[in-house]
């Protein structure tokens, strides 16, 4: 479908080709908008991470590595000794732990779901896919809010547990790490199902049949035949869930309350009450670097895979 396919057959066609070569100029307005509205400001963040914080907010234009130092270490105000910044480490650890747990939960729930959808026939498949897409396009805030409703002390989860006689008093789920985890697994589940579905849909079931013919049982077929083939889908889904989980802001804020912060909320804090814009900037760049590393890993992992089926 590339231009090379249409070899110039006449002078006119050659002229068209020459004109077509300048067509990339049409991308310029979009690029300009993105430079102003997305990429350019990132450079400012990078610069700010190497400056000193202003007294109330903003920055003082003096070069400093202090913000990057502050990410991991804190200087004692009394004896000037340097120690690890425990509060920061707690937040990083929580973010990584919750993001990994979210990825795992969505994978455990999403893989069977994607498999189920991919093995339906035509019309049914469209129906189930549509059902997965509705929550995906539903406002993130509404979905988080729905989970908030479920997990409240007077919410459905506690009410039904109590009426079943499993618990005597409501358990406090809201404003804990568990609530954040449930919320993130809930909002990011479709992001896992969709790429997994795409991978399983391409699976050649003759290979599965061949596995059974060679006396493999279901578990063996799943592990030795299906899993290796759909691995790119698993990697894609995991990245798609892990990346937004790590930078999550709305879900931890609504379900975790003020205490169960993740990196996203911590960054916001530096631009609000924290009044430490350089620290907020260096944290943003750090988050960006981690995300880029994950994406790079994904690109390399998926380009090494040979296409199946």
């Amino acid at each position: 479908m590339t231009l090379e396919a249409g070899q110039p057959r006449s002078l006119e066609a050659e002229a068209t080709n020459r004109r077509i070569r300048r067509n990339w100029l049409l991308s310029l307005p979009a690029i300009l908008l993105l430079l102003v509205g997305a990429s350019g400001p990132l450079l400012i963040v990078l610069v700010y991470s190497f400056l000193k914080p202003g007294d109330f907010s903003g920055v003082v234009w003096e070069p400093s590595f202090n913000a990057w130092f502050q990410i991991l270490f804190s200087r004692d105000i009394f004896d000037d000794t340097v120690g690890l910044a425990d509060a920061h480490l707690t937040i990083f650890w929580r973010s990584v732990r919750l993001s990994l747990a979210t990825t795992l939960i969505t994978l455990l729930l999403g893989l069977p779901t994607a498999y189920f959808i991919a093995t339906r026939s035509g019309r049914q498949r469209t129906f189930w896919l549509f059902l997965i897409t509705i929550p995906f396009w539903t406002n993130l805030l509404i979905r988080t809010f729905a989970i908030l409703e479920m997990l409240r002390n007077e919410g459905i989860v506690n009410n039904s547990l109590m009426s079943l006689g499993l618990i005597a008093e409501p358990i406090q789920i809201l404003y804990t790490d568990t609530a954040v985890l449930i919320g993130m697994a809930y909002v990011y589940l479709p992001l896992m199902v969709l790429p997994l579905y795409a991978a399983i849909e391409r699976l050649d079931f003759r290979l599965v049949e061949a596995g059974y013919d060679l006396y493999a049982n279901r578990l063996q077929v799943f592990r030795k035949v299906i899993l290796p083939i759909i691995k790119p889908g698993i990697v894609a889904g995991s990245i798609l869930v892990f990346v937004p989980s790590l930078g999550a802001y709305v879900t931890p804020r609504v379900l975790g309350g003020g205490k169960n912060m993740m990196i996203g909320n911590f960054i916001e804090l530096q631009f609000g009450q924290g009044r430490n814009w350089p620290l907020g900037s260096s944290l943003s760049i750090l988050l960006l670097l981690i995300v880029m590393a994950a994406l790079l890993f994904y690109v390399r992992a998926s380009s090494r895979e040979e296409p199946h089926g």
């Binding site: 080709n17 990339w24 897409t133 409703e149 631009f271």
Partner: protein
């Protein structure tokens, strides 16, 4: 073909997978259904059912802040999706109807950048950038929000349009050019009608994405510029009200409406392409 095997046992079925799937769908829909149901609750409780009523929709509709936020949300989403779709269409033409050139990967990365950078990072970057512009120019209108929304909507509009353009046979366009149509005539009479479903799909995605955005809006907006999502976020900080349920349900209805249209539109694409 697999029918013969399915009688004994289906190679496509794995034990327990259907159960997990049903749990999955129940878990996905139960919270949303609760929200929708309780938006019709007569009482002011979000836990106790006191009969059916549309009172909370009336309360939400009469709330001036909600009215303002709704109008602002729609205004921003219309402008942002309009700008994003126009620029994305041009960019999609520029990247598919062109000879390979060295910078093409860079253009692709730039256009898709909002999908890769965590939203909170973009939000913070725009906060810093626009804060200094606001101080320098004294202007603090809606243009910042429209600009920011348009920027992150570009990839959502770009991807379906590009997919459509790549799936199109170039024979008709080349034929038009051979018959001495100017580039503009070729575009207007041949390319545009063929790519139109992709453009409409892209515009709808951009519209929904803009309408739903919380984080970037929260950071970029000036005082008194709440959109529906940021208004709801502000309400959540105080108390959970059935009014928010009503707004959520209305937004949900709009999303499903647009999505259904999107599915019908892209579904028809597949058959014709």
């Amino acid at each position: 073909m697999a029918e013969r095997v399915r009688k004994a046992f289906s190679v496509r079925r794995l034990p327990g997978f259907t159960t997990v799937t049903m749990i999955c769908f129940a878990a996905l829909y139960a919270p949303i259904i609760v929200i929708v149901l309780y938006s019709f609750n007569a009482g002011d409780s979000v836990a106790l059912w006191e009969g059916f009523s549309l009172d909370w929709y009336a309360v939400a509709a009469q709330n001036e802040q909600v009215q303002d936020a709704t109008l602002r949300s729609l205004l921003i989403a219309l402008w942002a999706s309009g700008i994003a779709t126009t620029l994305a269409t041009m960019a999609a033409l520029g990247t598919t109807r062109t000879a390979k050139f060295p910078g093409s990967t860079l253009i692709y990365v730039l256009i898709n950048q909002p999908l890769m950078v965590p939203e909170i990072v973009t939000a913070v970057a725009l906060l810093i950038f626009f804060a200094s512009i606001k101080v320098a120019t004294g202007y603090s209108g809606l243009a910042y929000l429209i600009l920011a929304h348009a920027a992150f909507c570009v990839p959502f509009a770009y991807l379906p349009i590009r997919a459509r353009l790549e799936g199109m046979d170039r024979v008709l366009e080349i034929a038009a050019a051979d018959l001495y149509a100017t580039p503009w005539q070729t575009f207007r009479r041949v390319t545009l009608p063929l790519v139109a479903p992709g453009i409409v799909a892209g515009a709808m995605l951009a519209f929904v994405i803009s309408l739903d955005d919380v984080i970037i809006t929260e950071f970029v907006k000036s005082a008194g510029q709440d959109t529906l999502p940021t208004y709801m976020l502000g309400q959540l900080r105080r108390a959970v009200t059935p009014e928010v349920n009503a707004i959520s349900t209305a937004l949900l209805g709009l999303t499903i409406l647009l999505l259904t249209a999107f599915f019908i539109l892209t579904g028809r694409n597949d058959k014709s392409a």
